[in-house]
């Protein structure tokens, strides 16, 4: 299917089904039940899942395949957002030109930064990308205020000169982003028994974009180009001796991953047309690194899993407060209940970052292949005896 091997097309199919049915899958609990707060099936969050999925898939093409650890990828996300919002301000509220522009601008930006940064490898490369990203952040925050609107962030206003379209709607509000008339924020609620499922246009646009991005990344992984990138990761010196110049390949990988980040930024702005400098800070780059590693760098599905997990944690786990905890442990005697609540309290709610940090450390220490490797190990354990033979042939993530 689409020029993929059987295994890959199966994977793509599974991902497609999962993303298309996400409003059902992420809403397992009835709306009125106490567990409803674990439902993640609302449009805002689902959009974030897939958008950060795209971001992480792109990052994985650089880090997972070539092993270049960039700490500055959030800069491309930010650039993508800014260019998309400018397109909304100047041209039209249709998201297609905005996203196209954000991908192109982020690609050009990545070309410049990559051209310079890729002269160095290892930690020097990480520091260079970090320096560039912090520089762009500082510039967006202060000097480039005419373009970025400084610390307030770039927003749409009623006086925007939209060439194709109106500055303001008839009732005097700012027009909403749309795809040939289908408004991004329009959603349809379907009630089925005690469940309520929300289908939003914005989510499905993002989901289709992610599927395309995912398909493209499979093609890149399986192409001779992807093989070349893996070769660069495993031994660059040897590559040099065979007479191959790795620079064009790494640069191409860098630009591609920058364009993915630009696409993610553009989609983010398309869902909610504003852009701020915080998106470019280095901690935001750190987040995408966490996502990729957590899921499994160098694997196809890993980054998407990691992005989903972190965003789920960020939005759902952080809502658990002491009342909820007391509800959970209510069946215990009073003293033990309070003790359990104090014990769990630092890890949930506002402290979810702590859980994230610990989880991330555990993954780096014990599961260098991320959750995907964890899944493979469990699968092997279940299959029992075969494990010993399978160990030698098991697919390892690119090193």
């Amino acid at each position: 299917m689409f020029g993929l091997e059987k295994k890959d097309s199966l994977l793509l199919l599974i991902v497609a089904i999962l993303t298309m049915c996400a409003p059902f899958i992420l809403n397992p609990f009835p709306t009125d039940s106490g567990l409803a707060q674990f439902n993640a099936g609302y449009p805002d969050l689902m959009q974030r899942f897939v958008i950060f999925g795209i971001f992480a898939i792109g990052f994985n093409i650089l880090f997972g395949l070539t092993g270049y650890l960039s700490f500055g990828h959030a800069a491309f996300l930010g650039v993508g957002s800014y260019s998309a919002v400018w397109m909304f301000k100047l041209l039209s509220m249709n998201i297609i030109p905005a996203i196209v522009l954000s991908v192109i601008i982020a690609g050009l930006f990545a070309l410049v930064i990559g051209y310079v940064s890729l002269r160095r490898t290892g930690i020097y490369f990480s520091i260079l990308t970090l320096a560039f990203a912090q520089m762009s952040f500082a510039l967006a925050y202060s000097v480039l205020t005419p373009i970025t609107n400084g610390e307030t962030g770039l927003q749409l206003t009623l006086s925007d000169p939209r060439v194709l379209g109106v500055s303001a709607t008839e009732d005097g509000s700012i027009p909403v982003t749309n795809l040939f008339g289908a408004e991004m924020r329009s959603a349809m609620d379907v009630a089925m028994g005690p469940w309520t499922f929300t289908f939003s246009v914005g989510y499905y646009v993002c989901a289709v974009a992610m599927l395309l991005a995912f398909y493209l990344s499979i093609r890149i992984f399986r192409s001779p180009f992807g093989m070349m990138l893996r070769a660069i990761k495993s031994n660059q010196t040897r590559m040099n001796y065979t007479g191959l110049n790795p620079r064009p390949y790494t640069l191409a990988a860098f630009v591609i991953s920058g364009m993915y980040a630009g696409l993610a930024g553009g989609l983010m702005a398309a869902m909610d047309p504003l852009a701020g400098a915080e998106r470019m800070q280095w901690t935001a780059s750190g987040e995408v690194v966490l996502m990729t590693i957590l899921g499994g760098a160098g694997t196809l599905i890993g980054p998407v899993l990691g992005a989903g997990l972190i965003k789920y944690f960020e939005n759902i786990f952080s809502k658990i407060n002491d009342n909820v905890l007391h509800g959970w442990f209510a069946f215990m005697p009073d003293g033990i209940e309070d003790f359990m609540v104090t014990l769990v309290h630092p890890f949930v709610g506002k402290g979810w970052h702590l859980t994230l940090g610990i989880m991330f450390m555990l993954v780096v220490i014990f599961l260098p292949g991320g959750l995907v490797e964890g899944g493979q190990r469990i699968g092997r354990m279940i299959r029992g005896r075969k494990a010993r033979d399978a160990k030698s042939t098991a697919t390892k993530p690119a090193e």
């Binding site: 092993g67 650890l69 310079v116 002269r119 160095r120 490898t121 290892g122 930690i123 020097y124 990480s126 520091i127 260079l128 970090l130 320096a131 560039f132 912090q134 520089m135 500082a138 510039l139 925050y141 202060s142 000097v143 280095w282 901690t283 750190g286 690194v289 590693i293 630092p346 402290g351 970052h353 702590l354 994230l356 940090g357 610990i358 991330f360 450390m361 780096v364 220490i365 260098p368």
Partner: protein, 335 residues
Amino acid sequence: MDAILLQILNGLDKGSAYALIALGLTLIFGTLGVVNFAHGALFMIGAFCAVTLQRLFGLSFETIDETQTDFLGNPLKVKTPYVEAWFGPDFGATIIDWSVPLAILFAIPVMLVIGYVMERGLIKHFYKRPHADQILVTFGLAIVLQEVIKYYYGANPIQTPAPDALSGVMQVLPGVVYPVWRVVYFCFAVLVIGGVFAFLQFTTFGMVVRAGMADRETVGLLGIDIDKRFTLMFGLAAAVAGLAGVMYGPINAPNYHMGMDFLVLSFVVVVVGGMGSLPGAVLAGFLLGILESFASTTWATTTIPGINQIIIYLVAIIILLTRPRGLMGRKGVME
């Protein structure tokens, strides 16, 4: 002339902080070959040692003071810190006032232990793993440490004032007045840096460590337990970062993300100075601190807007591209 001098002075305190953190960072890199992204967190923990001590000294009990009444005539409750009750009001108040400098004594053992535990518990297992893994695991550790601090101390900056005697301004040179504490911080940094260099230069222990930095295997073959010494060096590096943090409190109120803020900059400093080069780290620290303060002058910001924000990164990019081993780095380190 005075203006130039003032800018140099302005840069010194920030430069001292950069130099101290970068010194520890490069010490760890030079001895163990580990890229420690948790080093900023150690700096932050140091600062919170001072906060902790300040809180401990501030612990108080309430008594009813018959001599003071509120407007209804009821006797007022007054708070007396235990320290004042134990040591007498005058001496006790002095102790409370001097909590930041006193925290140095408190921070040294704490940081040594933290460094030792960190190396034995975590870093030890990452010597053979690629640098990317080291970066990642220490980055995770930094997040964890930062969140623990945030949980216990809250997210707001906590004021840790300098002792009254050292909190005013002084005349450094005719016509140039300058906050006393910043001068103290600079002198303290010079002392610590001098101490570390003297320790490495003049003690047998330091000599072995330096030999180990040059050729670990040979030193090991001579029958010296080099691993143990390197672990101690990690503790020492942690202590240097912690001391930098302890004394930095009065300049900038400690908060839970100060570590991450300084981390990026100190890495830039290390790279500019040359990875693994101790004098390079110190030199680059002061140099970049001073450069930053020059770039913050109104003259510079009006000529090139925003230069104060980007100068350090700009310098780092230029240095990395023209002289990848840094100002004083050896050839071939991590290239």
